[in-house]
């Protein structure tokens, strides 16, 4: 069984985001980037399924400029068998990413695409679902448990009301939520080994992918700031303030 895992390079989740003063975007130059945390979870799950003998081959794929190669190296250090770099400069929005992923999915005839439920830069939460739609296959989003057997997957999903279970036929797309697993610490020898692996490079043209109509960002602003709060010293003071505001 073959798994495709998509991995995105994003500003590290610990970075304090700065909006550019001219409102043209967020400062990303010279800022620490890492693999999107949800994609790490997808990668970890694929490796665990491989260790269990369920999956035999893991293909890591990323879409973006040269620097994204780092992210593929991280995926290889996790245990990806191969890596494909869809080389495209500039911003790539979810529908375009989905078209590329669907093309790779078909070309490699994989059984399952595992990807993070959202990327922590655009917070869009779209790519997995869009890829599944383009491929006309099943999707299980926000997975916190995945079992694969007999050409099917049983997936527990985190929904608003609790935990929902779906039974889906493969091939399929599964997007991963935070509680699915805890990604392992990468070992130095694995990181070193990953540096020597040959990465396959392809372009949209090679895959026959057309860029989708794009959403235009006309302005980026910091969120409205909250007015300065007060510190109280005692519970009595807190109660008095809450009463005064009519909150208790």
């Amino acid at each position: 069984m073959k798994a495709l895992v998509s991995v995105k390079r994003a500003v590290d989740y610990n970075v304090r985001i700065q909006v550019k003063p001219d409102g043209s975007g967020v400062v990303t130059d010279g800022v620490k980037h890492s693999m999107n945390p949800f994609d790490e979870i997808a990668m970890e799950e694929a490796v665990r399924l491989k260790e269990k003998g369920v999956i035999t081959e893991i293909i890591a794929v990323t879409i973006g400029g040269q620097k994204n190669e780092e992210t593929l190296r991280t995926a290889l250090a996790f245990g990806a068998t191969r890596a494909i770099h869809v080389k495209e400069d500039g911003e790539i929005q979810p529908l375009t990413a989905a078209r590329a992923l669907a093309a790779v999915f078909k070309k490699e005839s994989v059984d399952v695409l595992l990807c993070g439920k959202q990327a922590i830069d655009d917070d869009a939460n779209q790519t997995g679902q869009m890829t599944a739609a383009l491929l006309d296959v099943a999707q299980a989003t926000f997975a916190s448990k995945i079992e694969i057997a007999d050409g099917k997957a049983t997936v527990t999903r985190e929904v608003d009301a609790g935990l929902e279970t779906l039974d889906i036929d493969l091939p399929a797309v599964v997007t991963t939520d935070l509680r699915l697993n805890e990604p392992r610490y990468l070992k130095l020898p694995d990181i070193m080994k990953a540096k020597r692996v040959q990465i396959e490079a392809v372009t949209f043209a090679d895959l026959g992918v057309e860029a989708a109509p794009a959403i235009k960002v006309t302005k980026t602003a910091p969120p409205p700031s909250r007015s300065k709060g007060v510190m109280v010293k005692t519970v009595d003071e807190l109660v008095a303030m809450l009463k005064q505001k009519g909150l208790v």
């Binding site: 529908l95 917070d123 935070l178 509680r179 109509p213 510190m231 809450l242 909150l247 208790v248």
Partner: protein
């Protein structure tokens, strides 16, 4: 003129309260607004939808396949309806909306806007990125606009209308690759986290699921819903549907009391629209105090019982 379709979320015969908030966003866009209820028997839910002010028609699409709502099954049906001339399709920015909207957009070959938080026009919206640390204004290209609406950003419209209810006929081939197996729901008599006007949340500091009792007790005293940080959820103190934040629930209560929560940006993303934030934390330098309206430094295990006895 815009013709807007809202896809209703509902469960157990009850319309999700978020739909009346999505209506606010629809009215800001302007135009005719229909609400569609996909169900195996949607009459009761459609009756509730018909009361939402501003609805032109409440549509029902009854099909056994819609007994439990799933994005993969809904999407082809929504696409069929869109062919009737809708310019916009709006979803609640919750699990169902996130599951379905992108699937609809991809089938139509148009991009999707996630988490609309303000409307500037029929094709221009604000939405958050980087856990709400930046807000972008976006322009959607020509074509059908598919979007989810950030429920915390809009007030519900009143529900004293009486629109017509109509059965819509939708002939779409439905997939059989996805089967619903069940829901493990947490039963609780407390107010629903997303609708509650007051929420008390606990973090890693609680240390165990037993200790969470201090949070529940205080919440019950003031009639609040209960939330949690991811750390508390990950540690297994409480179920995941209580997680508040970037990747949990985004809420906008009148009062939010954060107890033993440090205030990581991912948590704050879920409470930016709370009217009054109270923070109780023993670390005076905890980042939660930077956003709190009222802060109290101290041990929550002594503060909460005292607070409970004094309110």
């Amino acid at each position: 003129m815009s013709k807007i379709l809202i896809v209703a979320d509902h469960a157990d015969g009850k319309l999700n309260g978020g739909v009346a908030k999505v209506m606010s966003a629809a009215q800001a866009i302007g135009g005719d607004v229909d609400i569609v209820v996909f169900s195996d028997n949607g009459k009761a839910v459609a009756e509730q939808a018909a009361k939402i002010n501003g609805v032109a028609k409440a549509l029902t699409v009854d099909n056994a396949a819609n007994a439990n709502l799933m994005g993969a099954v809904l999407a082809p049906q929504v696409v069929e309806l869109v062919k009737g001339g809708y310019t916009h399709v709006l979803f609640c920015g919750n699990a169902l909306g996130k599951d379905t909207a992108p699937r609809v957009a991809a089938l139509l070959g148009v991009p999707q806007v996630s988490d609309i938080m303000a409307v500037h026009g029929a094709n221009s919206f604000d939405r958050p990125i980087y856990a709400g640390n930046a807000i972008t204004t976006v322009e959607v290209p020509e074509g059908t606009v598919i979007a989810t609406v950030r429920l915390a950003s809009f007030d519900a419209v009143a529900e004293d209308g009486s629109a017509a209810i109509e059965a819509a006929s939708v002939s779409a081939a439905l997939p059989s690759h996805t089967r619903y197996k069940g829901l493990q729901a947490q039963k609780s008599d407390r107010p629903d986290l997303q609708g509650a006007s007051k929420v008390v949340s606990g973090g890693r500091a609680l240390g165990s699921s037993d200790n969470f009792k201090v949070i529940f007790d205080f919440a019950d005293k003031i009639g609040a819903g209960v939330g949690a940080s991811r750390a508390a959820v990950d540690s297994g103190y409480v179920p995941n549907d209580m997680q508040v934040g970037q990747t949990g629930k985004i809420i906008a209560p009148e009062l939010y009391v954060a107890c033993g929560i440090s205030g990581a940006i991912q948590h704050l993303a879920g409470i930016k629209d709370a009217k009054t934030i109270v923070a109780i934390n023993k670390d005076a330098d905890a980042p939660i105090f930077e956003v709190a309206d009222i802060g109290l430094v101290g041990d929550l295990f002594t503060i909460l019982p005292e607070l409970q006895s004094k309110v």
